[in-house]
Symmetry: C2
Subunit: 120 residues, 2 copies
DNA sequence: ACTATACTTCGCCAAGTGGCGAAGTATAGG
DNA sequence: CCTATACTTCGCCACTTGGCGAAGTATAGT
């Protein structure tokens, strides 16, 4: 029950849901999520911690970056079930489509230029 | 997205989740849910309203009683998916088993005696 | 060593949530 | 009509949550 409620609480915020949907296309670092979701770094950081505690994402550190990704096949059934439900419900939603488009833009831009999340 | 978040928020409270699991065995009136969940009438009433707004339960009025039940086959895919996920995750949990047992007790008692939720 | 970037932690605030009891509404029964 | 039962609505309180910026930590580059 505890685990289940951790997941439902994690899923009851729009930014967190959008982050999960965005991660379908592959892992992302925090600064990319910041750009996509448009909130402050501290806010996104907190969101990703919530998702991680719920077991909905896994984390990998690489240099200065912290990459988040969807959990693998070893994930608990509850987590896998949550993803199936999420994909069924919002996989093709306008929000998901729009974000996917913006994400491509962001990823493309990364190749030439470096992030601007922390420029003042 | 709105609809989805209504559901995840509705699912992120233990009492509401227990209520949904209890309704698997058939419709229940508010006073039975009060007995099962052990909260004040006003609290349970609020919970059931949240579930109804999210589309997770349907309501039927009969005399003084208000019966809640799980939605039928006409329910939205997101709602049906939520139930599949819920059943997969908590269908056989200790809490659900315990509640099912207590519920039988409550339903049996109803046949002889009337509810005592509102006795002071 | 110094600076810049990437990210987290902390402290704060406004808004939302779950809990209750008291009071209100609705229906059934004497 | 009066009372009891079933339930809702309202007002309140304690707690949680999401947001931010400022300050702190960690790593990479110079």
């Amino acid at each position: 029950m505890r685990r289940f409620l951790d997941i439902t609480k994690a899923l009851s915020d729009e930014s967190r849901v959008r982050a999960l949907l965005a991660l379908r296309d592959g892992e992302l670092c925090v600064c990319q999520l910041i750009e996509l979701l448009g909130s402050a770094p501290s806010t996104i950081s907190k969101h990703m911690t919530v998702l991680e505690q719920a077991g909905l994402v896994e984390c990998r550190k690489d240099g200065r970056w912290r990459f988040y990704r969807l959990p693998g096949l070893s994930a608990a059934d509850t987590v896998k079930g949550a993803y199936e439900w999420l994909a069924l419900s919002l996989g093709k939603s306008p929000q998901a489509t729009e974000d996917r488009k913006r994400l491509k833009e962001i990823l493309r831009r990364k190749k030439e230029d470096i992030s601007e999340c922390y420029k003042n």
